[in-house]
């Protein structure tokens, strides 16, 4: 689609904020239009990266699971991690990538719980990798306008 979707969203957001909102007489309506403009600006920022950040994150979590699996003694968790890490993203619609991401992050929570309770260098190494992955996950989701 041309013009590019993110460019359209950004332009409409700017128009709403700079031209339409000031023309409204009600402060409540101005506030609502301002919120809609901000939503469009966020959607514009997210649009282009939506698929790529999920593909990158899903691959990163699968790598982490492959690395962790040999150290997991709990057979049910080990089996689950093996299955998830053997899968792949084949449907590149954002909704499909998001569903895979949710399954991976739910398993990541269980792995995190498990290694926190385990002693030994393998558990600490995996735990450290999980924290690094979680920090990266927030970098992937950062918004220009967000307060932190």
């Amino acid at each position: 689609m041309r013009p590019r979707i993110e460019a359209v969203f950004q332009a409409v957001a700017a128009d709403l904020l700079e031209r339409l909102a000031p023309a409204l007489s009600s402060s409540y309506q101005q506030g609502t239009v301002g919120m809609v403009a901000t939503l469009l600006a966020i959607a514009a920022e997210e649009w282009d990266r939506a698929a790529s950040r999920r593909i990158e994150e899903n691959a990163s979590i699968r790598d982490l699971f492959r690395d962790a699996t040999p150290a997991i003694e709990n057979s049910a968790l080990r089996q689950r991690l093996m299955e998830l890490s053997a899968a792949d993203d084949r449907d590149f619609r954002v909704s499909a990538l998001e569903a895979n991401n949710c399954a991976l992050r739910a398993a990541l929570i269980d792995l995190h719980c498990y290694v926190e309770k385990e002693a030994g260098p393998d558990a600490r190494r995996i735990e450290d990798k999980i924290w690094k992955e979680l920090a990266k996950s927030t970098e992937r989701r950062r918004l220009i306008s967000a307060p932190f």
Binding site: I109, C113, S137
Partner: protein, 341 residues
């Protein structure tokens, strides 16, 4: 079908039976937090030959709110602090019967000509007064912490909690919100919750009224930087006074996009003001616990707002905005506090 102005007129006539020529006009919805619909209006009437005109605020429950709260508690908190060193608008009537206006509501006085928006605060002429605003903001919070809930008559309207149980009750509640409302897994928040459970804070040094949402954006200020009213008491409860301090320091309120808390002053300056005003100590380890808890509570609110939008009939864009805009910042704030960012 009667208009809201007409319904309000009928209701207030019952409250002021001696008033003659009673009239409600200039009704307009305003932004007033996400949990209730807020309107301003003018009330005029004749009282013993004198014309009385009052500017009032109506806070009415929506069908689906960002925060599920008890309006009785909010009303009681406003009433308890009115006329004390904690500035709040005067409350007039609480109505829990949905019949008069379609849903429960309360009415109070409007503090006129003032702002709440952080963006306005960061622009001139207010921007020259940020240090004074900070001094008032955390001093008032210190006064809330120093006040006695029994003396304020709030033990009863608000549920009592033992000093050792404050953290368990609050953490349990907000973990429950995440359990019921999260639409996507929250690995950072789940890790934060585990840390909070493994490392509980000491018992509260006293039981205070906790405002529950004390932050820049929830007080009314003028152009000279004077704070005239603390608003949005809908999450107020009894608990550890460090809970409010931790919430006020939350990174998601860094409106100036730098390290200044609430867009005002450094974390250390804010804590020093609060300690001076409250006469209490902000034990560093305990405060760290409450700051991390604030990230869980914040995420609970953003998660439930997204859940409300997706599953409820309320399609207010603020439910989406708070979720889209703040969830990742909240995760980053938790990571920073756990030394993992």
């Amino acid at each position: 079908m009667a208009t809201l102005e007409e319904l309000l007129t009928d209701y207030i006539k019952l409250k002021l039976p001696a008033a003659a020529a009673l009239r409600v006009d200039q009704l307009a919805q305003i932004s007033g937090g996400a949990s209730r619909q807020t309107y301003r209006f003018r009330l005029s009437y004749e009282d013993r030959g004198k014309t009385v005109e009052r500017r009032l605020i109506l806070r009415r429950d929506p069908t689906n709110s960002l925060i599920d709260t008890d309006r009785r508690i909010e009303f009681a908190a406003y009433r308890a602090f009115y006329g004390t060193g904690v500035p709040v608008p005067e409350m007039l009537w609480l109505e829990e019967d949905p019949a008069p206006l379609g849903s429960p509501f309360f009415i109070g006085t409007e503090l006129r000509g003032l702002q709440t928006a952080p963006a306005q605060m960061l622009m001139e002429p207010c921007a020259s007064h940020l240090a004074e605003i900070a001094e008032q903001k955390w001093s008032i919070l210190g006064r809330i912490a120093a006040s006695g809930p029994r003396e304020l008559g709030l033990v009863g309207p608000m549920e009592w909690v033992e000093p050792a149980d404050c953290w368990k009750r609050e953490l349990g509640y907000w973990e429950g919100v995440l359990d019921s409302d999260e639409l996507i897994p929250q690995p950072i928040m789940r890790a934060a919750i585990r840390w909070l459970r493994y490392n509980p804070p000491p018992p509260a040094q006293k039981i205070s009224v906790v405002h529950g949402d004390y932050r820049t954006g929830n007080f009314l200020f003028d152009e000279a930087g004077k704070i005239h009213g603390i608003l949005d008491w809908e999450m107020s409860h009894l608990g550890d006074p460090l809970e409010d301090l931790g919430w006020s320091l939350n990174r998601v309120w860094c409106w100036a996009h730098d390290d200044r808390r609430g867009g005002l002053v450094s974390r250390e300056q804010a804590i020093a003001i609060w300690e001076r005003a409250s006469g209490l100590k902000a034990d560093p380890k305990a405060l760290r616990w409450w700051e991390l808890f604030a990230t869980v509570k914040g995420q609970g609110i953003w998660v439930s707002s997204a859940h409300s939008w997706e599953t409820g009939s309320n399609k207010d864009p603020i439910l989406v905005l708070s979720s889209w805009w703040l969830m990742n910042s909240q995760d980053r704030a938790a990571l920073e506090l756990m030394g993992r960012l």
